[in-house]
Each structure stands twice: as C-alpha cells, then as structure tokens.
C-alpha cells in the first residue's frame, strides 16, 4: 500500500495515510458530520474507540461500518447514511 493516497467522502477527495482510520482521515480533512440519523440529527465520531456506533458510514457499499475502527484503503468510497437510506446496499 502506498503511504499516502486518496479516498472519497460524499464525492469529495480526501487525503489519507496508510494506518489511519476513516474517522481520522475525515476529521483531519475538516469533516465532522458523518451521518444523519432517522430523526434528522447530524452525527459524528464521539467515543473514538468503537462502542458508541455514532460514526457508522457506508464504506464501499457496505453499510453501518464504524469509521473510527476501520483503516483507510486507497480508493475507498465513504458515504453518509441518512436514516435507513444507505442501508440498502446490503
């Protein structure tokens, strides 16, 4: 794996380094809102260690993946889930 590469978040190209978590790469790029819940509330990373599940996103078509627990890969496509939308991909 190259040490620096790009992933996309909501269509935007984001710089990432090998070994980073998806959450870290997104936060470093200034992104905070990773999800919109069923009540319309914007949500982001909270606990950073995988127990709160607030940071879950659709990653490469698979829904509900914790951004804080998942290492970045070159070309990874990350999308926000809006309510249960984005959970269709399963």
């Amino acid at each position: 794996m190259p040490s620096e590469f790009q992933i996309t978040f909501e269509g935007r190209s984001i710089a990432a380094r090998e070994g980073q978590s998806v959450a870290a790469a997104l936060i470093a790029a200034g992104e905070r809102c990773l999800r919109i819940d069923e009540a319309g509330n914007p949500k982001g990373a909270v606990c950073g260690i995988g127990f709160c599940w607030e940071c879950r996103c659709s990653i490469d078509g698979v829904p509900d993946i914790r951004a804080c627990m998942t290492p970045v890969r070159p070309g990874m496509i990350v999308r926000r889930q809006r309510g249960l939308d984005g959970c269709n991909d399963r």
Partner: protein, 453 residues
C-alpha cells in the same frame, strides 16, 4: 497483557482475544507502524507502555493471540462465543479472564449530539494513535485528571485549546497527602501536563461545565457555566466560547456486560465504574473459572491494572481446587505490595471524580439521553413518574438501551437520573444479553464449535 504474560510463565495455554488490530488496549494504544509522528505523552508513561508491550511481544509466539476478534457472548455454562473475520467460534476454556476495561462517561446536555462533541479519551486516541488533531480549536471539559492531560497533549501537538473547564480543582487531591506521596512520580507527570496548559495561557475554568453545545450541522461554540457544590448552575455565570471540538469526560463506566452475562454477581459503585463484578483480591468472581482484572473490575488506573493482571493471571493459571491463598500471596508478595501502593494513590484521584447527584439537572427535559433511539430526558422522567424504576422497565417503555450501542452511552446517565428523581439508583443493571457486538447471520452460520474435551 500482564495476565497473559503471567499465564505463559506458569505454563498455561493462553488465548488472548482483542478487538483492536494491535495490543495495547486504550491507555497503551499503539499507532499503526506506518504512521509517522510522535505521541505527546510524558516520557515515563511512554517507558511503561513500551516495556509492557515488549514483554507481551516476547511471549506472543507462545500464545493464541487473536487480534480484531470480538467476544459477542459468554454463557453461564462456560462457553465463549467470538467473531473473527467472517466467521464465529466457540471456546470452552478452563478459566476466563475478562479484562475489558472501561469506557467514558458524559453528562448529557442540550446539543451534545452535535458532530464535534467527543469524549476526551476518544479525542486523545485520535492524537495518540492516529496522529491527527481532533480539532483546530478545542474546549476540554470534565472531571479528574484526564481533561488536563488531553488539553496538554493537544497543545503539544500544535493544537489550540480555548479553555479547560474542570469540575473540581486537582488541588482536591491535596486532601490525601499520603496517597499523593505514594504516587509522587505520577503526580510529577501530572504537574508537567498542568504546566503545559498554564504556559500556553489557556484559561482554566474551575467549577465550570458545558450547559449547551451550539451549532447547525456541527459544533460551533459551547456555553459553559459554573455549578455550585451541589451541582446547581449558578445564574449569571454562563459564558460562550467558540470551538470546533468539545472534548468531555465525566468519569468512567466498566465494560462489564460480558462478565455479567457469565452469571457473575454484580455490585454498583458509581465512583469506580458503575456495575462491577464482585471479586476477591485475586480477581475471582462468583462464577468458578471466571475472573475479572484491570479497570473492568474497578477503575484503578493503568499501574494498578498491570499488577492486577499479573495477580489474576496467576490465580487463573491454577486449577480451581489448587488455589492456595497463602502460597499465592507469598509468591506474588512484591506485585501485591506494588498494587497496594498504586491503589493508595488512586484514592486521591477518586476525590476528583466524585459527581454531586444534583449535577444531573444539567440534563434538561429536551436533552437527548439515549442517542441511538433518540430518547429525550422528558420521556425518561415520565416513565419514572409512572413508577417504572428498573433499567429493564425503562427500556421496555421508552426504548433506551435498545439501539446499536446497547446502552453503553446512556445507561449510566439513566441510572443517575433515576437516582436524582427517586432518591435511589436502580439496583440492577439492564439484563445482559447477546450480542455484545453485532454479528451477521452468515458469520454465525459459519461457526467452529469448541473442541471436544
């Protein structure tokens, strides 16, 4: 790690199951080797970390070390069910040591669900293991030593900290001079963190707490206010500070769901982790063969946890009938003494973690308490008023604890709100059930059974 090392030393077949990709847990979290940069922790702490990690690395070839593996259920019959990759497995060990540590606790307040409000330890883990600044302009709020440490590390990493709001001055620890003396080396580390914060000119707001997080799609500012000794907001003290990160920590809750699921007798102590297994000095729970070690058996800090791991690892290595209290005590005398010394220091630290019950009034009616199910404090209050007191009853009525996180983020708050409203906290935890982590049907269908005895 300490328990595993001791188990190997005593000739046991040891299996270690850990959710993370590398050893270290939370306090000694390691960055991926490919990430450049440094940690901003005190050198002495880094020394301890590297020493323990090296010792573990030295034995890792001799153990069955499962990284990125999650135990999703344990049962009173001694079975451990774990998920690893795309399949699951059942193990039936002679002894199980649950060393699942603690997670952070927050006092919910209006707006706390905005992106940009994080647990302080979570923000710290971004710094520590991801080498990323969790925010450009932070406010750190909480109780105990952690907020100060996080603020200092952020500053050392080149971040800006607009304010540190501590519920109680760390000078509270001075009321325990003997304990402080026992932990003087750690105290010195703490003082160096404090110096970093002071030298940077960061305002330290004593007695202040967040009362409101402000923003549209993300955090833009926080309103802090001072509370009195009973936790009541003092009128006229509110001040608003712009920030893009609010790192909060108001204590810790033990990750005791697994040990509870094994059938172990539990007790509640909010100061040291909430619901904890009842254990003796050797980590034995009420279930033969089930042990608990480290912070998960009572919040006591990393130094105690390491000693505890060695002691419990030793006890678990012996067959149940062979645990001879006197012999074990003699063998482990030095470690037991060290543990007692470190525990003594913790008494001073605990003084700073005490939360007055009145502080839970910060959780206004319109505050979301269960984030997963969007349950507001008003719904919980109404259910309490209708006479539903247990966490199970509250769960049935308002759905708190039924979402993705299984109550990990909200149940401590609900228990405290119940105590505030009725004078008594629920005596039982929510009944622990599978799954401790979600696992797909397909992985469950691909299950490797325990080897026949």
């Amino acid at each position: 790690m300490a328990a595993a090392i001791e188990g190997v030393r005593r000739g046991c077949r040891v299996t270690v199951i850990d959710e993370g990709p590398r050893p270290g847990g939370q306090i000694y979290r390691q960055a991926h080797p490919a990430l450049p940069g440094e940690e901003f922790a005190e050198p002495a702490e880094l020394d301890r970390k590297h020493r323990l990690l090296s010792a573990f690395q030295a034995v890792v070839e001799r153990i069955d070390y499962r990284a990125e593996a999650t135990v999703y259920a344990v049962f009173p019959n001694g079975e451990i069910h774990l998920a690893q990759g795309d399949r699951t497995e059942v193990l039936r060990p002679d002894a199980m040591i649950v060393a699942t540590g603690v997670r952070e606790q927050a006092i919910p307040f209006p707006g706390w669900t905005l992106p940009g409000v994080m647990f302080a330890g979570g923000a710290q883990s971004l710094l520590k293991a991801q080498r990323v600044l969790p925010g450009r302009n932070a406010v750190v709020a909480g109780c105990g030593p952690l907020p100060l440490v996080v603020a200092a590390q952020m500053l050392r990493a080149g971040g800006r900290v607009a304010a540190v709001a501590s519920l109680r001055s760390l000078r509270t620890m001075l009321r325990h001079p003997r304990s402080l003396w026992r932990g003087r080396s750690i105290l010195l580390e703490g003082l160096r963190y404090e110096r970093t914060v002071r030298r940077a000119g960061v305002p330290e707001l004593m007695g202040y707490v967040p009362v409101r997080a402000i923003g549209g799609e993300r955090l833009e500012a926080v309103a802090l206010a001072r509370v009195d000794r009973e936790g009541r907001v003092v009128p006229g003290t509110e001040r608003r500070i712009a920030c893009d990160l609010l790192a909060i920590n108001y204590g810790f809750v033990a990750n005791s769901e697994l040990v509870a699921m094994s059938g172990a007798e539990m007790r509640r102590d909010p100061l040291i982790g909430g619901w904890l297994p009842v254990t003796d000095d050797y980590g034995r729970t009420s279930v033969p063969g089930v042990f608990a070690a480290g912070d998960g058996a009572g919040l006591r800090g990393a130094l105690v946890a390491e000693c505890d791991g060695t002691i419990v690892g030793a006890a678990a290595s012996l067959s149940p009938t062979a645990v001879d209290g006197a012999a074990l005590r003699a063998e482990l005398a030095e470690t037991i003494a060290r543990r007692a010394r470190h525990l003594d220091f913790q008494q001073a630290v605990r003084a700073t973690l005490r939360l007055p019950i009145g502080i839970w009034r910060l959780v206004t009616d319109d505050t979301i308490v269960c984030r997963c199910e969007n349950v507001h404090s008003s719904e919980i209050r109404e259910a309490l008023e209708s006479g539903h007191r247990s966490l199970n009853a509250l769960k049935r009525n308002v759905r708190s604890g039924m979402g993705w996180c299984g109550g990990r983020t909200c149940l401590h708050a609900i228990a405290s709100l119940a105590e505030l409203a009725t004078g008594e906290a629920p005596s039982e935890m929510m009944t622990p059930r599978p799954m401790v982590r979600p696992v797909p049907f397909a992985a469950i269908a691909r299950q490797k059974k325990a080897a026949a005895e």
